[in-house]
């Protein structure tokens, strides 16, 4: 793993990967959302309301998937002291928080005409709200530790402990009676209860959003690495002058 710990090597790969992921992400997201909005048929039970799925599900996937990435990066930083792991965790957190907030808000917009309310203390909704608070807690703690010149160990531990919320989100619709519908796709079994006309744009949209998420993380990592270089050079210059 330490083969990839060299920031110079990482930057070489990131400079090629950033436009690629960005281009692919934009292409697939535009295609997925266009088909989802205008070309896919309405659901036989839910009618037109199914179209929210093409934005709500990718946002939920990236909110939870992003947190898994944050927890893995934090574990890697704590255990192996991988120099890029902390940078990756700091890059993932704001994007993951934004997608979790989008998931909650788009769900609330759907909830009002469908359930008659923007919010209920349902197990799935509540566990997603807890996920948003975990992201915000991580961001606040990492910023406070950075100000004190610390290694952000507290923030990394918070990210690891918070990972317990991920299986709770996943199985909340099975463990409790929830208003939120159950899962229609079983990734492990490769099975889906959806018609192909609805599943295809959803998968295109999820793939596009995932590429865009990767592009955002790569750009944030490049920015954080450049800021680190500037700080190190400024410190060296100040020491030379003194």
């Amino acid at each position: 793993m330490h083969r990839f710990a060299n920031p110079t090597r990482f930057l070489k790969i990131a400079r090629v990967a950033t436009p690629l992921t960005l281009g692919l992400g934009l292409l697939l997201t535009i295609a997925g959302l266009y088909i989802g909005l205008f070309a896919s048929p309405p659901d036989y039970q839910q009618g037109e309301s199914v179209r929210i799925m093409y934005v709500h599900v990718p946002a939920a996937w990236l909110g939870s998937g992003g947190y898994l990435g944050l927890a893995i990066a934090s574990a890697t930083a704590l255990i192996w002291r991988h120099p890029l792991a902390n940078i990756a965790a700091r890059a993932i957190a704001p994007a993951g928080a934004a997608f979790t907030a989008i998931c909650l808000m788009s769900g609330a917009l759907w909830g009002k005409p469908t359930w008659g309310t923007y919010w209920v203390w349902d197990a799935r909704l509540t566990s997603m709200l807890v996920l948003l608070f975990l992201y915000l807690g991580y961001l606040a703690l990492a910023a406070a530790e950075a100000e004190r010149g610390g290694e952000r160990k507290g923030a990394a531990i918070l990210a690891l402990v918070g990972a317990i919320n991920l299986p709770i989100i996943k199985y909340s619709v099975e463990w409790w009676n929830t208003l939120h519908q159950g899962s229609s796709i079983n990734v492990l079994a490769g099975k889906s209860a959806m018609a192909p006309e609805i599943l295809t744009p959803l998968l295109v949209s999820v793939t596009g959003f995932t590429f865009l998420f990767a592009a955002i993380v790569l750009m944030r990592m490049r920015a954080l690495l450049a800021e680190q270089r500037v700080e190190a050079r400024s410190r060296r210059l100040a020491e030379a002058v003194a």
Binding site: L22, T29, L33, L37, G47, E48, S49, R51, I52, V55, H56, A59, P94, A95, A98, F99, A101, I102, M105, S106, L109, W110, K112, P113, F209, L212, A215, I216, M219, R220, R222, A223, L224, A226, E227, R229, V230, R233, S234
Partner: protein, 51 residues
């Protein structure tokens, strides 16, 4: 007519708002990340040239 409840227009009440919210958030994240990267890399490059 009394007793008949009008069904809400789904497109106006949440389909369009959800898409606008998601696409707006996504574009804002992309632009913020891109500008932060460009600014930080330009500053690092300027400092490297100064040396």
């Amino acid at each position: 007519m009394e007793g008949i409840v009008a069904r809400p227009d789904l497109w106006a009440s949440y389909i369009w708002p959800s898409y606008i919210l998601t696409i707006g958030g996504l574009v804002a994240l992309l632009v913020w990340s891109f500008l932060a990267m460009r600014r930080a890399e330009a500053r690092a490059e300027a400092l490297r040239r100064e040396r």
